[in-house]
């Protein structure tokens, strides 16, 4: 990753706003899905020859905005003006026709076709009705050369690394003579060299007058490449800013905002609970890392303490949690649980050592929708026992009743289908799934995301209670207030590594924001 810099590294002249008309102007765009207002009167301007970053946390409305611009969603109200003419795109094809091209996070090209075929798919040069392969290759080569990408257009796309495929996707987008190029998280799976190459191509396009929309969770990259940015939060426009005039701290504050302290009643006295750090840690990560997701990281966890992992999306907080549990296998380092030192290869190993992990992606990685609430609750325990030793009926009933009651799960009916429950209740069932296995270490990744305030408070209270009883907890949340309220120790992640670890005494949200924004680098330096 490029070296951090307090002043933006983007040296390129910022586009002169006055006197140049925006190539696209989206004005007061609103889109609702049922009761949810995904976008609420959001306005964005794109000027030719600029890189425009779209900033915001999860659910801020970035992708909805992009989909509105590219004709995937139709807008409820507002106007889209392209080159001075008001337009409404009924389909992605219509948007592309108007010169708006999109490259999505996952490269959606065809790996078994050649580079040239991918670039010109659907608009191949033809001759007597047949595809003119030579003309196609010639045209592809010219486009690639224009972008400074040195690959053979006749080679098969799948042979190239993801980064090159990403560049081909951009070349394809550019070939349609794009006036606007939208790059949605193009760097999430690239390493530093590949990012540099991508930025080179982006700068080239910008200088040719293309307006580039750049979405990334990496602040340093935004500061390196972007000229201007639009910040969204909860479907609303926060502000449009020049990157050069905004410090990273300001940006993070704008993105995260301050939520009302509705939950203050869970006033946890941090001082009342003193974690026993004199003994040996129950869990210790030594240089655990994985290519493309986390740099080598150390972490120690003691009985009865809550470690709060803070950081933006993509900072490595989820990645670290997954490596601690063996949900992904680490490339480097090892996890010591208790006194046993070994490389975790599957969740099974971690579960056998009394580790529990609740994924941030409740739907895809937690809920088994078509099974009953009771089966969902007992899944992890049953999996530990193996299929030959079913849980006795009386035990089943007792456990299910007990946790329906303890976590206030509604409906209070173990026979209800899991998919019919609300998000908050599903989350409680998943928490119960793990508590039933009687873990010593509990890793909770975003356990309160997207659930109502009542369920949130109940889950937080439960976590505090468990820690008080001696459980070691790793708590991850995008909401800093929540992390600060619950944790004894605070670990801050940024750009796929741990940048700060400190006891949580008198740490304010502002302090954490500063750390996330990278403005306390002297501590980071001394950490070695």
């Amino acid at each position: 990753m490029t070296q951090m810099d307090v002043t933006p590294a983007a040296q390129a002249a910022t586009p002169v706003v006055a006197g140049v008309d925006p190539v696209i102007e989206m004005r007061d765009i609103s889109i609702g899905f049922g009761a949810v207002q995904a976008l609420d009167a959001v306005s964005v301007r794109l000027y030719p020859g600029e890189v425009h970053a779209l900033m915001g946390e999860n659910g801020a409305g970035k992708s909805t905005l992009i989909k509105a611009l590219t004709g995937v969603y139709s807008i409820d109200s507002g106007r889209i003006v392209v080159g001075g003419v008001e337009r409404e795109f009924g389909s992605p094809a219509a948007a592309q026709e108007a010169g708006i091209s999109t490259v999505y996070q996952e490269v959606n090209l065809l790996p078994n076709l050649t580079v040239a075929e991918n670039m010109l798919l659907g608009r191949e040069p033809r001759r007597f009705g047949a595809i003119n392969v030579r003309a196609m290759n010639r045209r592809a080569r010219a486009t690639l050369e224009g972008l400074g990408i040195d690959i053979d257009p006749t080679s098969e796309l799948g042979e190239h690394p993801i980064a090159v495929q990403q560049l081909v996707a951009i070349a394809r987008a550019v070939d349609v003579e794009a006036r606007v190029l939208i790059l949605d998280e193009p760097t999430s799976s690239l390493d530093a060299d590949e990012v540099a190459k991508l930025f080179e191509v982006m700068r080239g396009l910008r200088d040719q007058g293309v307006a580039i929309v750049f979405v990334s969770h990496f602040l340093d990259q935004v500061y390196e490449i972007a000229d201007r940015m639009t910040i969204l939060r909860n479907g609303k426009l926060v502000e449009e800013r020049m990157v050069a005039d905004t410090t990273q701290l300001e940006l993070v504050k704008l993105m995260i905002g301050r939520e009302l302290e509705v939950l203050d009643r869970i006033d946890r006295k941090v001082s009342a609970r003193t974690a026993d750090e004199s003994g040996s840690p129950v869990l210790k990560a030594i240089g655990v890392g994985r290519k493309g997701s986390l740099e080598a990281t150390d972490l120690e966890l003691y009985d009865g303490e809550v470690i709060g992992l803070a950081g933006l999306l993509g900072s490595g907080r989820t990645e670290l949690a997954r490596l601690l549990f063996g949900a992904d296998s680490a490339d480097t380092g090892e996890v010591v649980i208790g006194s046993e030192r070994r490389r975790l290869r599957s969740p099974r190993h971690a579960i056998d050592r009394k580790v529990a992990f609740s994924s941030e992606d409740r739907k895809a990685e937690g809920v088994v929708g078509d099974l009953t609430v009771a089966d969902n609750m007992l899944l992890a325990l049953q999996a530990s026992r193996g299929w030959l030793r079913p849980i006795p009926q009386t035990t089943r009933t007792r456990l299910v009743e007990q946790y329906l009651e303890a976590l206030d799960i509604r409906p209070r009916d173990g026979a209800a289908l899991m998919r019919n429950l609300s998000g908050g209740n599903q989350q409680k069932v998943l928490l119960a799934r793990w508590l039933i296995t009687d873990p010593e270490i509990l890793i909770l990744d975003e356990p309160t995301r997207g659930i109502d305030i009542g369920a949130k408070a109940q889950i937080q209270a439960k976590v505090a209670e468990l820690a008080a009883q001696g459980m070691a907890v790793v708590f991850i949340s995008a909401e800093l207030e929540e992390v600060l309220r619950l944790s004894d120790r605070l670990v801050v992640m940024r750009d796929r590594r741990k940048i700060e670890e400190r006891p949580n005494d008198d740490v304010s949200v502002g302090d954490v924001l500063e750390i996330i924004a990278g403005e306390s680098r002297e501590e980071e330096g001394s950490r070695g």
């Binding site: 549990f325 949900a327 599957s346 969740p347 099974r348 579960i351 992990f357 994924s359 895809a364 990685e365 937690g366 809920v367 088994v368 929708g369 078509d370 099974l371 009953t372 009771a374 089966d375 899944l379 992890a380 049953q382 999996a383 530990s384 026992r385 193996g386 299929w387 030959l388 030793r389 079913p390 849980i391 009926q393 089943r396 509604r410 409906p411 026979a415 209800a416 289908l417 019919n420 429950l421 609300s422 908050g424 209740n425 799934r433 109502d452």
Partner: protein, 367 residues
């Protein structure tokens, strides 16, 4: 069949009624068509202490498909499919018959028992091979089992030297044509395996874990489910079921033709599973549904003869009936029916189908 002894009785009944209403209805309609064509269709007479009649023939003929379909149900529930069952049936028959023929005392009871045991052990191994390809090597089930589907025919040809092997062993013949307590042995065997499967899946936790893996493999992995063992088990079990089916088929003619024994039975079995309401996308399965599906297919075969469909239109007729049944079960078609009775969803006190119960539950959950 004990569908699930774990859920509450009322919930179980409601679920059962909801799931099986269409397959049962289809079966009943098909039987009524037969009665309309030939009023004496349901007649059953007693002769030499055995029951005879169309219905008895149907249950006996349903045995091979039912056996194969039971194993297939579990495989499909894990999001897999087993195309090799026909070939495994042929291998099973070939192994058993060649061992009987080669035995010192061809007609003895022990010869038959030993030969069948040996054949079934081979089939479990073959099933485990499929399971290995799918769960360890990660090959797509359709491809992994296609290997044995093709190679298995060759193996059974090699075992029988390409000859039609004929056996003379009364115990072996009884597998298909014998009667116990007035009922055909073949059907009793199939019913027994059906009961065994039910116990295996619903009295242990196997059924729940199979469903969990089929519904959400990643969530199951993160919950610590050893999905590799589960998948291995279901393919081995499918091999065993196919092996038993092969023995029953061979016993029916007292011979094995490696080329034709069990040919296309995998398709009938898959059809039985689907008609029974188990989704090919994996997840929840219904053994009772599979039983009804197998009976439906056997009835359909009998119907073709009974109502006098010309033999050249045989397949076309079957196809049309199957399409009709599948359409009846598709959620889209069913939702058309559901929309027509909006009044039913309002009163939650009535015995609602799962469809009408859904919004009620969801609301209760959010409150």
């Amino acid at each position: 069949m004990a569908e699930s002894p774990t859920t509450s009785v009322s919930g179980l009944q409601r679920l059962l009624r909801h799931q099986l209403v269409w397959p049962v209805l289809a079966l009943v309609v098909l039987l009524l068509v037969n009665v309309a064509a030939k009023p004496g269709f349901f007649d059953i007479r007693m002769q030499d202490g055995h029951l005879y009649g169309n219905l008895i023939d149907i249950v006996r003929n349903s045995a091979p498909v039912l056996l194969v379909a039971l194993g297939m149900t579990l495989v499909i529930a894990t999001r897999g499919i087993d195309l090799s069952v026909g070939a495994i049936a042929a291998i099973s028959a070939a192994v058993a018959c060649t061992r009987i023929v080669g035995a010192a005392d061809e007609g003895a009871l022990t010869t038959a028992v030993m030969a069948c045991t040996y054949a079934l052990a081979v089939c479990i191994l073959l099933g485990a091979w499929n399971g290995f390809l799918v769960s360890v090597l990660g090959i797509q089930p359709i491809i992994a089992t296609l290997i044995l589907m093709v190679a298995g025919r060759g193996i059974s040809m090699a075992i029988t030297d390409g000859q039609i092997t004929t056996v003379h062993n009364n115990t072996f013949s009884d597998l298909a044509t014998g009667y116990v307590l007035t009922l055909p042995v073949a059907f009793l065997i199939a019913l027994g395996v059906c009961a065994l499967t039910a116990v295996l899946t619903r009295r242990t936790a196997l059924g729940m874990l199979i469903e969990a893996v089929g519904i959400n493999p990643e969530a199951s992995r993160l919950a610590g489910v050893r999905s590799r063992t589960i998948i291995w088990t279901v393919y081995a079990f499918s091999g065993l079921c196919a092996g038993i089916a092969g023995l029953v088929i061979a016993a029916n003619t007292n011979s094995v033709n490696a080329n034709s024994l069990g040919l296309w039975i995998e398709l009938d079995a898959i059809l039985a599973v689907v008609i029974g309401g188990t989704s090919l996308a994996g997840g929840r399965f219904s053994l009772m549904g599979t039983l009804i599906g197998a009976l439906f297919i056997a009835t359909l075969a009998r119907t073709v003869n009974n109502i006098g469909i010309p033999s050249d239109l045989n397949y076309l007729f079957k196809a049309i009936v199957v399409i009709a049944v599948c359409l009846l079960q598709s959620p889209k078609v069913r939702s058309v029916f559901r929309v027509r009775r909006p009044g039913a969803t309002g009163s939650s006190g009535s015995v609602g189908s799962a469809g009408s119960a859904t919004p009620t539950l969801a609301k209760a959950g959010r409150s």
